[in-house]
């Protein structure tokens, strides 16, 4: 009985922190549903970054110039970094990295539907930067204020870097648009393929998104799927005009009354199919991730073996930080770390 009283008191404290728009930190008590929702969302987010390396990575060896190659390498490396920030945030919720990797390659956890579409032309590299990373920014900026501290902090780092991703994509497309008719046609064809999947990145419409209300109440999400989708469309339309491409939606027009664009609905059945594993590249993406994990096993084992073989207490430490002068050491030799 006292346990349930304790629980009620803890829940009250938790709700009070949320109500004050403060952050929940890893060792705070949290409702199991809150933790579960976060694990699902943060893991899915981390997996998306990792799987997201594949569609663009496919063009690394075929980039048209050294400059484009260096940019693309940096971008793909960033995606890996974003995945790692997010895995590290997810682990503070009590799941291990090995479990997370396992759940991704077993298909028990999802990643963003967008990465199940192929990158058929080099213009796709630009379109992904512009539209896909643009949509991701819309999604992620409000998440910097999410109620779970480590997730919000990871999002802040991610958002700082996403801006480079979007700009390099737009610049790439601008360059192609100032090229030949063939290059312009490549850009338009790419935009035609990615526009609807980019809109689907925000998830199903609000009336078909049962978890949204709970996530909003907990401060995990800050906006509904439809709000973010609208924001993305409004942001993107003038960018498309400036670029000189047509967004493939006959219903897209400015609505003076609403002060926003009206636009058509994506094919929600397609989203359901892609999420449930029947998208164009689902099997390929997971098989590639599994192969990379399994092929890397010997490297992980060798590094562990090397770490055991070379373990000399104190030796590594001197390599890590320049050895401070004796005045910084207290009498028992420990280094002052403040």
């Amino acid at each position: 009985m006292s346990t349930s009283t304790d629980e009620a008191r803890l829940e009250e404290q938790f709700e009070a922190v949320i109500a004050r728009h403060e952050r929940i930190e890893p060792r705070d008590w949290m409702p199991e549903g809150y933790r579960r929702t976060l694990v699902r969302q943060v893991a899915q987010h981390a997996h998306s970054e990792i799987i997201g390396m594949q569609p663009e990575g496919a063009w690394l060896t075929r980039a048209p110039s050294l400059r484009r190659k260096a940019v693309l390498l940096a971008k793909v490396q960033d995606e890996a970094g974003h995945g790692l920030y997010l895995y590290s945030a997810c682990e503070t919720l009590g799941v291990s990295r090995a479990e997370l990797t396992r759940m991704l390659i077993d298909g028990r956890q999802k990643y963003s539907s967008i990465f199940n579409y192929p990158t058929l032309s080099y213009a796709d590299v630009g379109t992904i930067g512009w539209l896909v990373d643009g949509a991701a920014i819309c999604n992620q900026v409000p998440l910097c204020r999410t109620s779970y501290g480590p997730y919000g902090r990871a999002m802040i780092r991610v958002c700082k870097e996403e801006s480079f991703h979007q700009r390099q994509g737009y610049e790439l497309l601008m360059t192609m648009m100032s090229g030949t008719d063939e290059q312009r046609a490549m850009v338009q064809e790419s935009v035609d393929r990615f526009w609807w999947p980019a809109l689907m990145m925000f998830g199903p419409p609000d009336d078909a998104s049962p978890n949204t209300a709970r996530s909003l109440a907990w401060g995990i999400k800050r906006n509904t799927n439809d709000e973010l989708r609208q924001k993305f469309v409004d942001m993107t339309v003038p960018q498309a005009e400036r670029l000189g491409v047509t967004l493939p939606d006959p219903d897209l027009r400015w609505n003076e009354e609403r002060g926003a664009h009206d636009f058509g609905q994506p094919d929600w059945d397609e989203l359901t199919r892609v999420i449930s594993g029947a998208g164009p590249c689902n099997a390929e993406r997971i098989a590639h991730r599994r192969r990379a994990h399994e092929d890397g096993a010997w490297v992980r084992e060798a590094a562990s073996a090397f770490a055991r073989a070379t373990k000399e207490p104190g030796r590594d430490r001197a390599q890590v930080e320049q050895a401070p002068g004796s005045s910084l050491r207290d009498p028992d030799g420990r280094v002052e770390t403040r």
Binding site: E25, P26, R27, D28, W29, A74, Q77, D78, G81, L84, Y85, S88, A89, E91, T92, S96, R97, A98, R153, A154, R157, E161, R300, E301, A303, S304, A305, F306, A307, R308, T310, K311, D316, R317, Q319, V320, E321, T337, R338
Partner: protein, 103 residues
């Protein structure tokens, strides 16, 4: 703090390290996140790649997460209580006439 079991078998997950970065000279090292590595040297290299790709730091500390002792959130109130009732430790506790300069 998250603890990592001292499992040293080759298949075991690499230990967790917490990463602290000094943004520039004159600032403290600040906690930026965590990562897994087989040993300290690898942790440092990974920390550079993961957390300082854009000149975010001039110095990095990595420390195994299981080497950190942290206060417990359950004891937060009693632990910090001793400073709660000592308002006289703050400058605003003292009444000084408004026309006294430089104070």
């Amino acid at each position: 703090m998250t603890t990592t079991p001292n499992d040293t078998s080759p298949r075991a997950e690499w230990p967790l390290y917490e990463v602290f970065v000094r943004g520039k000279r004159g600032l403290n090292h600040v906690h930026v996140g965590s990562l897994h590595a087989a040993d300290d040297t690898m942790a440092l290299h990974h920390a550079r790649d993961v957390y300082t790709r854009r000149n975010e730091g001039v110095s990095i500390w990595v420390v195994r997460a299981d080497a950190i002792t942290a206060s417990s959130p359950d004891e937060k109130d009693p632990l910090f209580a001793p400073s709660g009732d000592k308002v006289y430790r703050h400058p605003t506790f003292y009444d000084v006439p408004a026309d006294v300069p430089h104070m």
